[in-house]
Subunit: 130 residues, 2 copies
């Protein structure tokens, strides 16, 4: 019994099913060719259900480049434990042509018409379903 | 047609169904008696489904008080547009006696035994269901 009590509430981490929003933000994003595409700026959460609708990926911000973001459906992202990064199956060109917002617009949700463009571009289900 | 084009992608906000994780973090939390209980430190997200498992509420941090956090099931929180705050139906005493973690432990998930204590305390369903 004493031994059982000796290891309560183990802190698991990388392999855990949960991740803090503060750890998601800033996590780098790579594609399958090991090209760094950017980093997670934030996630957009459905208020009522608490479900992440999409991730907001940030790009640029170096050497005078204007920083911008791409909303990307959450289901497109796979967390890679070894790389401590998200992997996404997109080329740089695919992302370059994807729906884009300015960094100053990143933390405000858009309307459903815009969000439908996003899911349409990636061929995923809109976050509100069908 | 030109008029239709004139108002694309309206930025809606308070009344919107979505909210950025960066806006959730730092949002104050009040109870039904208008007592300020703390603020949202972060949310814990289920990696695969993208569903928020629980919010992490921060407390203290003033006048030498040690800052700590309480994991609180997301469904306990209601966003109040007028107050720009989350409302939760808990007294200060209920929260004082609730499962608590140090601020340095806030961004790491715990094991299911601990998370079951949390949902047990609040009488909610564990985030992984039954």
């Amino acid at each position: 019994m004493a031994e059982q009590m000796a290891e309560p509430r183990t802190v698991v981490d990388d392999a855990h099913e949960l991740i803090s929003s503060r750890r998601v933000e800033g996590t780098p994003v790579y594609n399958r060719k090991d090209e760094r595409l950017g980093a997670i700026h934030s996630v957009m959460i459905e208020k009522k259900s608490g479900k992440v609708a999409y991730a907001v990926l940030s790009f640029g911000g170096f050497l005078g480049m204007k920083e911008h973001v791409h909303p990307v459906p959450w289901e497109m992202l796979t967390y890679d434990v070894d790389m401590d990064a998200y992997l996404v199956d997109l080329t740089r060109d695919q992302l370059k042509n994807a729906p884009t917002l300015g960094l100053d617009e990143a933390d405000r949700p858009r309307d459903r018409q815009y969000d439908e463009e996003v899911s349409g571009y990636y061929g995923t289900m809109p976050w509100w379903g069908l």
